[in-house]
């Protein structure tokens, strides 16, 4: 038994790893630009950079030397001149690949969004030099803070990198290009920020956060997400635990009733009722429940979270909406057992119908019932997003909903991650209890 448990616990490692990867992929890789999503298009580049730095989004995804900075907005010469349009004398063509054109005889400041914070940066410029009227190639000088370089002279497109240190109190122009004669054409220009260590990536940052049990800070409330979750779990459980137990008792008793009267009108009626119950949308239960039971009949308060009476209606709705599915499941389980040999034997030796049902069948049906019960434990945690939302119960579901509406990525990621991990543990619990009840499982 102990060996089995150990094996089962080891099996959890790849699962948790998978959950980490999926959440990471969803929010960091596929998520695009969380800062832009959160702060909107009109946010200043500086506030975007601050958001990135606080949440590790300025690091490379998996590994690498260079991360991103918002000080320089990436230019797209195919479509527009980017921030170069702010600089006097600069032209732009979008034909043949698109490029920004800097005519000679002038010096140009590179239009940065803000002064980069201290650190090491690297410019990469893809450029071409066009000769002046007298046929000489211009000698373009590029100055960035302390670093300066003459661009290598060539007529074709070429790429040039320059590393540049930003010290705390640097003043004056941040980056400047002097073009004495001819023309400088730029096809692409990027600025990267040097990462502290090549392994210091978003993934490592995320893993580190998880290892500390720290889910970061909500952008909207500026509160620790772990604390918000602890606060939300109480109301969620107050709602879901009663739903869970009442639902269990009601559906199992009805299932036993169906098994007892199998193939009579009562059984068929309940089968039909369960399909109908399953087909009614959750929303409909809530809306009509609030209207008829809360508003029209005034049996329950309609909305709010002030005393236990406010929980009655959501619990009732939760039980009813879940009843269809679970009644059908438990009925099938019970009926499956009804045709086993031991049931026939029990009947043959003269046991009454009630005794067979409650003593023999119910005990053997406990295994699938238990699986179903344990596997619904994770749903206690997220509670019911809709119930909490529409009844104004400040639980985890409500918190997740607000996170989604406000694009608060860290909140959603934390709720999804914890939910998945709880599911893994529930799975472990089911398997262990299986092995405990049924010794054959252990040996497989």
């Amino acid at each position: 038994m102990r060996a089995y448990i150990w094996r089962r616990i080891l099996y959890m490692i790849p699962m948790v790893f998978g959950i980490i990867l999926v959440t990471f992929f969803l929010f960091n890789v596929a998520g695009g630009d969380p800062a832009l999503m959160k702060l909107g298009k009109n946010a200043t580049a500086q506030s975007l950079e601050q958001y990135d730095a606080q949440r590790g989004y300025d690091k490379p995804l998996f590994a690498g030397r260079w991360g991103r900075t918002r000080a320089w907005t990436e230019m797209e010469p195919d479509r527009h001149a980017g921030s170069w349009r702010l600089v006097k004398g600069v032209a732009w063509t979008n034909t043949g690949g698109g490029r920004v054109v800097l005519p000679g005889g002038q010096s140009y400041g590179v239009p940065m969004a803000f002064r980069p914070r201290p650190g090491t940066y690297r410019w990469i410029m893809e450029y071409r030099l066009v000769p002046a009227d007298d046929g000489t190639l211009p000698s373009v000088e590029w100055v960035s803070g302390q670093a300066r370089m003459l661009l290598p002279q060539a007529t074709g497109w070429r790429s040039q990198a320059m590393v540049w240190q930003v010290v705390g109190d640097e003043t004056g122009m941040i980056s400047r290009l002097s073009v004495p004669a001819g023309t400088l054409e730029i096809r692409a220009m990027t600025l990267k920020r040097r990462n502290a260590h090549w392994l210091d990536s978003q993934l490592v940052f995320y893993l580190g956060q998880l290892a500390r049990g720290d889910f970061g800070v909500s952008h909207d409330t500026n509160e620790r997400i772990s604390r918000m979750m602890l606060r939300g779990i109480g109301p969620s459980l107050m709602l879901t635990v009663p739903i869970f137990f009442v639902g269990l008792v009601v559906s199992i008793s009805l299932a036993l009733l169906c098994a007892f009267f199998r193939n009579t009108w009562l059984d068929r009626f309940f089968v039909l009722v369960s399909v109908v119950l399953m087909s009614v949308n959750y929303l409909v239960w809530i809306i009509f429940g609030q209207y008829f039971l809360g508003y029209r009949l005034r049996w329950f308060p309609v909305w709010g979270f002030e005393s236990w009476r406010y929980l009655l209606l959501p619990v009732l709705i939760g039980v009813i909406s879940g009843l269809g599915g679970s009644l059908r499941f438990y009925r099938t389980v019970m009926l499956d057992e009804m045709y086993r040999d031991y049931v026939r034997t029990a009947f043959a030796k003269g046991a009454g119908r009630g005794r067979v049902l409650f003593v023999h069948v119910l005990r053997n049906a406990m295994i699938p019932v238990m699986t179903n019960v344990v596997m619904s434990i994770p749903f206690l945690y997220t509670g019911s997003l809709l119930l909490e939302r529409l009844f104004g119960i400040p639980g985890l579901g409500n918190m997740a909903y607000e996170g989604i509406m406000n694009s608060d990525v860290d909140v959603i990621r934390a709720v999804v991650f914890v939910g998945a991990v709880i599911y893994v543990f529930a799975n472990l619990l089911t398997d262990i209890s299986y092995a405990w009840v049924d010794p054959r499982v252990r040996l497989k």
């Binding site: 790849p14 699962m15 998978g18 959950i19 990867l21 999926v22 969803l26 929010f27 596929a30 998520g31 695009g32 399909v275 109908v276 399953m278 087909s279 009614v280 949308n281 959750y282 929303l283 409909v284 809306i287 009509f288 209207y291 508003y295 599915g325 059908r328 499941f329 099938t332 389980v333 499956d336 699938p368 179903n372 994770p378 749903f379 945690y381 997220t382 997003l385 809709l386 939302r389 997740a400 909903y401 989604i404 509406m405 694009s407 959603i412 990621r413 709720v415 999804v416 939910g419 998945a420 991990v421 599911y423 893994v424 799975n427």
Partner: protein
């Protein structure tokens, strides 16, 4: 060779799995009724798409690269460009706000004087779009991964089992909504959210069945004749498992519709088209003022579609594969 083959087939006919199932389904009046409901709604969805796309193509200010499509459509439909003539489900009439059901407006009008009946038809179109497109995403993923895992076993199996177990752990509605949020709001988010999360059950089922079929005589015979693994999988084994795919489709369709309604209601799904969820969300508070028709008819129609699909799905499952009764219920 060909000739003998066809004669054999006609002689043997009449007792295949499909014919047998069909005969059993036809006998059940409830099934026939649900099938009728499904057909009616499918026709409504087709009608809704014709109205919708006709309007979109003829009226909308199209980007330049799609102009040839518009010109072609105008020529085929022999229609003028109908700029400004909105179809009934969009047309607002502020004098006709909150009209109860009448002969002119079969199911009344909503807060902007739009006809509820026509909006419900459009809602049917969106629901069917969601049901079909999410299936087109999820079913291929589930079938292909399940087949590969079941047939090749070993490392391939380990990786695929790990993948679907991981997806299985995710809290369902939240995960769907999170994907939809990442994919930007709108219908695309709904398709991706539901499609990318709901393949797990089918994948697991296919894996188990392929595992069983791999041992059977006909597969061994095919292998002995030199058929490659992909030929065996997709030409020999898969046709024998198609009934599982059909059962899965009939179960997932109503579930996808329900999820879409909830997402649109919460403001994460469809944005400005008349989805059922949006209609419920708009009409919800008006119920308090006694304006029952929009909410009432919407919920009634959702119930009818979902119930018909559920009944049909149950019957299909019992007819095609009675063994699934326990395992199929759970998801």
């Amino acid at each position: 060779m060909n000739v003998t083959n066809t004669t054999l087939r006609t002689e043997r006919g009449g007792n295949s799995l499909w014919k047998d199932a069909f005969r059993r389904l036809r006998r059940n009046p409830l099934v026939v009724l649900s099938f009728g409901v499904v057909v009616v709604f499918t026709l409504a969805a087709i009608y809704g798409s014709v109205v919708h796309w006709r309007y979109r193509i003829l009226d909308a200010e199209m980007p330049a690269r799609l102009q040839p499509v518009k010109q072609l459509a105008i020529r085929i439909l022999r229609a003028e460009s109908v700029r400004g003539q909105e179809p009934v489900y969009i047309r607002q009439d502020l004098d006709q706000r909150y009209q109860p059901p009448s002969r002119r407006h079969l199911m009344g009008t909503d807060g902007l004087g739009r006809d509820v009946f026509h909006r419900l038809v459009q809602g049917t179109r969106i629901a069917f779009q969601v049901g079909v497109i999410t299936s087109l995403i999820a079913i291929p993923i589930g079938v292909i991964l399940g087949c590969l895992a079941g047939y090749f076993g070993k490392r391939v199996d380990d990786v695929i089992v790990w993948l679907y177990s991981t997806f299985d752990c995710m809290p369902s509605l939240l995960f769907i909504i999170a994907i939809a949020m990442i994919a930007r709001k709108g219908l695309m988010g709904v398709y991706l959210g539901i499609g990318l999360t709901s393949w797990v059950h089918l994948c697991r089922l296919m894996r188990g069945e392929v595992l069983k079929h791999r041992q059977l005589g006909y597969v061994q015979a095919a292998r002995a004749l030199g058929a490659g693994p992909f030929r065996i999988l997709f030409i020999h084994i898969l046709p024998n498992l198609m009934h599982l795919v059909i059962i899965n489709f009939s179960i997932r369709f109503p579930a996808a519709v329900q999820t879409e309604v909830i997402m649109s209601f919460l403001g994460i799904g469809v944005q400005d088209e008349p989805s059922w969820g949006i209609m419920i969300s708009n009409a919800r508070l008006r119920l308090w003022e006694g304006i029952w028709w929009e909410l009432g008819f919407t919920t009634l129609i959702i119930l009818a579609v979902v119930l018909a699909f559920n009944l049909l799905g149950d019957a299909l499952r019992d007819a095609l594969d009675p063994r699934l009764r326990v395992t199929g219920d759970h998801d």
